[in-house]
Symmetry: C2
Subunit: 354 residues, 2 copies
């Protein structure tokens, strides 16, 4: 089994190093091959998603990613920005199903800005469509048009979903709900957008195939409110690429410890790209300060979803729970009374707990 390793930018290489130590310690039959994605790839090749990375990613069984991006690349032309590498690899590998858990570990309940009683025990899975919607829709651009206000610049993008795109992501979400608490909330803006009216129609239509799942619908503005008002009402949420981008970040932040949250992006055959939900944190890069747990937990998701190694996945997840119980904390989740460790120290603790 071959794993494509993309450390990326900022804290990416440091957190990836710890995830690889953990994976290697499990003594599974994996080979790891590294490549460049994001800003580091632009610096080396001029392309945020170089051909060599593309080939390696296509021929690997799974991709493990650190994080991409940083201020030094923000002023480059659009096509050279690190995010384009991320969008490129998602589309190239057909990773249409982005699974983003928002889980609050009991030991970290204080980290949330929400009251403990509102978030204690929080465990939401957001299923975000990842290769369609306004992210990839055509036509798009900035051009001069006569708008009635004279000739002026106009910027435009196209939100678009086909029936088959909606069906395949809804299927992932329904099946996830079946394995969890049997509740699925589909989020749209059907009262304004035809695109999401189709979304609602199709998701509703599929409900009869999942009689064990309780389906509800929510408008996106209300969902943004309900996540703040009473997040524990949710089990699985499913939505499009754009709304999912916004709501999954909002949901992550409810836990107060985004440094703990992994994510998986899957294709139709459970090949996947696994990465922490957080960004590349350039401000603390290279300082042995970053929390590697989200990346380590992403490796666990990889074992579960791509390699069906549930036992190995649980071993990692239990080790992480154990180090939290033992009181080890990186700076982002530190509280007085706990033991502050660095990136590598946290890796050591997880290895010891395995």
């Amino acid at each position: 089994m071959k794993i494509c390793v993309l450390p990326g930018d900022g804290i990416g290489p440091e957190i990836m190093a710890q995830a690889l130590r953990v994976l290697r310690a499990l003594d599974l039959d994996f080979t790891f091959e590294e490549a460049l994605l994001g800003g580091c790839a632009v610096d080396a090749t001029g392309d945020p998603f170089p051909e060599a990375t593309r080939r390696l990613a296509l021929e690997s069984d799974a991709v493990l990613l650190g994080a991409v991006g940083g201020p030094q690349w923000d002023t480059l032309p659009r096509e050279q920005r690190p995010e384009r590498g991320l969008l490129g690899i998602r589309k190239t590998l057909g990773l249409f199903a982005n699974l983003r858990p928002a889980i609050l570990y009991p030991e970290l309940a204080n980290a949330s800005t929400l009251k403990p009683e509102v978030v204690a025990g929080l465990d939401i899975l957001i299923v975000r469509e990842l290769t369609g919607d306004i992210y990839f829709g055509q036509p798009r651009g900035i051009e001069m048009r006569d708008t009635g206000n004279g000739n002026e610049r106009v910027g435009y993008n196209t939100m678009i979903y086909s029936e088959s795109e909606i069906r395949r992501i809804a299927k992932v979400a329904y099946e996830a709900a079946q394995k969890r608490n049997g509740r699925l909330c589909s989020v749209d803006k059907m009262n304004v957008l035809e695109c999401t009216q189709l979304w609602r129609d199709i998701v509703s239509d599929m409900a009869r195939d999942y009689p064990d799942v309780q389906l509800s619908h929510m408008l996106v503005d209300n969902a943004a409110m309900q996540l703040v008002r009473n997040p524990k009402q949710f089990d699985v949420m499913v939505t499009g690429n754009m709304f999912g981008d916004i709501l999954s970040d909002e949901a992550s932040m409810l836990t107060g410890s985004i440094g703990m949250l992994p994510s998986a992006s899957l294709d139709a055959n459970n090949k996947g790209l696994y990465e922490p939900s957080h960004g590349s944190a350039p401000d603390i890069a290279g300082q042995d300060k970053a929390n590697p747990l989200a990346t380590i937990l992403s490796a666990a998701m990889m074992l579960r979803y791509t390699f069906a190694q549930e036992d190995a996945a649980l071993r990692i997840e239990n080790a992480v729970k154990k180090v939290l119980a033992q009181g080890y904390r990186t700076g982002d989740i530190y509280e007085p009374g706990t033991t502050l460790v660095g990136t590598r120290g946290m890796g050591d603790a997880v290895l010891a707990a395995l």
Copy 2:
């Protein structure tokens, strides 16, 4: 001065009645004329925004709205749903600037699901563009297409902004920031959407005309997180119609008392439509339970923005603060130790405090 009064659906008529009592008590030179909008208009005329309402709204100096919508109209064809009335009146009157304050009254600090230290003193103004973006963009629809997956249904919408649309809303936001704490955060998704790249370019470009305003930019996913992580970092936020819909609802809910929050939707000449930020709450309609304060505060915004009657606006706002200090609460903001009142009782208290 003529005010078009649109009580609307659900709790709309009850909360409007209290706002009108307060306005009448101020003894200003206003005439009030009522018309139908939303579900009640569909029931009476088949059209959520009937011609008579359109005419009255156009010839009035300001519009005061209760709330529209309810489950009994959700299954009607798109064009007859109450929301279409709302979108119709916004577009007809050219109400491009939606101002939505998210303010936490000290007396109601407990109502928030966020920790008191995170939200105490919260005072954000969200400036949302209201007549453009994907809400009104063409082309849009649901149709059959050959997508490569055979012939199937496709739903699509167009996100679009012109330079002049962006300039006029940014101007409103910059000027609001000048009158407040001088900080403006513009929210976009420029790393993915060309439409919002134009937004960022133009808002940045205008910064030189407002040297007293400190401009920052934030991606919408990050903004959704930062509102949870540290909402007090914001003074004025400006964004497009779609992102503004989501973020303004999220921001309202941070206060825990959306029943307190007014909103204004203004045209280029400060003609405006004023309405509470909350919905029509059909579940408690007609029971004298609804909180009328958001509508009363919307009337205060009307006095300030459309009629430049700052003193009268402040009189209302101070009366509302006083009734809160006196301990009067409707059910939505009730806590043990305070005095529970109904919709009308709350109106009485405000009148007494004026």
